[in-house]
């Protein structure tokens, strides 16, 4: 769906985005992560045609339209991290304004806006002035506005920033809904747990470079935590430690009373073989499990300990 090839943005000698190459398949909910200054917003702005790239290319779907062209703009729905409102403009008029900016007919706008406002739970606010809505409602309205022209790709830049917990949950549910409807969504956020719950693929940026990207479980596999295996041993811990130390590619990390933690970069099959060797050598064990990684530790690891 979204193909980013060698995208670069330089400000003089400072490189904000450094040769970014990324592919986001259709129907994905992609989470863009990175510390402040990593280049996420710059990348999003370049995709949306709000910033001229110093180099590289962006392509959406099968089109070869240039970034910033009308064809490209029709394919993208953009929700920024702020919500600018006009005084004295009602929700219905707000939708009408942006619909007409996409060249839609008033009748179509009214029909689609009704559906979208229902989707974002704002159908009873049509005649309310936009500036009187709560921040959460404004953000949901912004999502509805971005979907008016039925874009192929929805891009949200920090949609949950400044929202209260309830509004965050509502926003998360809304995005999950959209994802289940088959929309391709790119979302940048600092709230990693939220991304972990919603997204099926992620990309982590640091200092303008894409550190890693892919399906969330694949990325987790890269985590040291993902390689750590906890083995629950009932008897003969010494033999177990000796056998593990003899294994190439395995390292004993810690030994507790009934548990040994090893790191092993191999496949599940190789780990099963290893466990089998322990059993054959008389080690009694009750079970083993792979330590689950989490997005926070992955993020900290890949961004060199940078915090938000």
């Amino acid at each position: 769906m979204l193909y980013i090839n060698d995208l670069t943005k330089n400000y003089g000698s400072f490189t904000a985005v450094d040769h970014l190459t990324l592919h986001i398949p259709e129907g994905d909910l992609f989470g863009f992560m990175g510390p402040n200054g990593a280049g996420k917003t710059t990348t999003i702005r370049m995709i949306c045609g709000l910033l001229k790239a110093s180099g590289g290319a962006v392509r959406i779907g099968g089109t070869s339209a240039a970034v910033g062209s009308k064809e490209m703009k029709r394919l993208i729905g953009y929700v920024p991290d702020f919500f600018g409102v006009y005084d004295n403009l009602k929700v219905r008029e707000y939708m009408d304004l942006y619909g007409s900016m996409y060249g839609m007919r008033s009748r179509d706008i009214a029909r689609i806006a009704d559906d979208l406002l229902e989707l974002v739970n704002l159908s009873d606010k049509k005649e309310i002035y936009v500036d009187t809505l709560s921040r959460g409602m404004k953000q949901r309205l912004c999502v509805a506005r971005a979907l008016l022209h039925n874009p192929k790709l929805l891009i949200l830049d920090e949609p949950s920033s400044g929202l209260d917990p309830r509004a965050r949950v509502e926003m998360k549910e809304l995005l999950k809904n959209l994802h289940s409807m088959g929309k391709t969504i790119v979302i940048s956020s600092h709230i990693l747990s939220e991304l972990a719950e919603m997204c099926n693929s992620i990309g982590i940026m640091n200092r303008g470079r894409l550190v890693t990207a892919g399906r969330i479980e694949d990325v987790m596999q890269q985590l040291a935590g993902g390689k750590r295996i906890h083995i629950h041993i009932v008897s003969d811990m010494d033999t177990a430690v000796r056998i593990m130390k003899e294994q190439a590619g395995a390292a004993v990390e810690s030994v507790r009373e009934n548990e040994m933690i090893i790191s092993h970069g191999g496949t599940d099959e190789e780990i099963c073989n290893l466990i089998g060797q322990l059993i054959q050598n008389g080690v009694t064990l009750t079970g083993f499990h792979r330590e689950e990684g989490n997005l926070e530790s992955l993020f900290m690891q890949l961004t060199g300990g940078s915090t938000q």
Partner: protein
Amino acid sequence: MKIRWNPIVKKDMQVAARSMRLSWGLFAYEAILAMAFLLAMAVIQASSANIYNNGNVYSSLVSLFPILAVAQVCIVALIVPIITASSISGERERQTLDIMLTTCMSPFSIVVGKVISAVLRILFFVAASTPIMALAFVVGGLSWGHLFWFLLTIILLSVFSGSIGILCSALCRRSITAVILSFAFYFMIFVLTFLPLLIKAALGSRSAGETPLFLLFNPIVFFEEFFMQIMTGKSLLGGAGYMFSKSDVGFITYHLTTGKAWMLVSAACILLLSLVFMLAAAWKVNPMHSSSGRKRRKARKA
């Protein structure tokens, strides 16, 4: 075929119509014009009484029109840059410009929409002042045709002032800076168009040559010419003989300053200049062209 409104115009008119600022602005506009009217009447009456000693004011009432028209033009020249200079920068301040730029509207449509909405708001003011202006026309003996031409002149000047305002708005981040810059720009155009003529005179040249042609771009000279045509039917620069004879100026200038040619060509030049300003504003607004805004973007979280 159904005419499609520029969405910006529709939105701006909707927002403006609900704002108290419009009501207060109208009140102030009407009040100033009414005051100018009453003051002019008083002055005319007093001067007529002195000259003829019989208090007959009718022969002097014709000067009510220029007084009111100048008052209107001055107010328009003040208001339009304020409206347009805060339009693009105002969208930036409200953070709505980015969203607008991600839609299918081209930067030029956005700029044109902003100028049109400013002109429409001015027309609203002008329409509201019609009763006062009509008094000047009725007692001053001017025709409705003159009123029509006056309206066109106001539109032309609004477009010109609006295009300057919008360019400054595109150049500046803050609305107040844009307003100040647009007045400075306005003044600069006035001075720069006179500059070649003044330089020629300072150098002691007997003939101005074609340097007065720069005045074609001067909206104030255009308005003066418009008044001369309305009031006397002659050209300020040529036929009336106030400034040039055949030996004073070049061939093109001399022939342009006879009849109504100057006014028409000047109107075209002013429109052309307005178009250039609007194109420049659109170029500046277009993120795919603009190389500036670097500080802004760097300041934003990357």
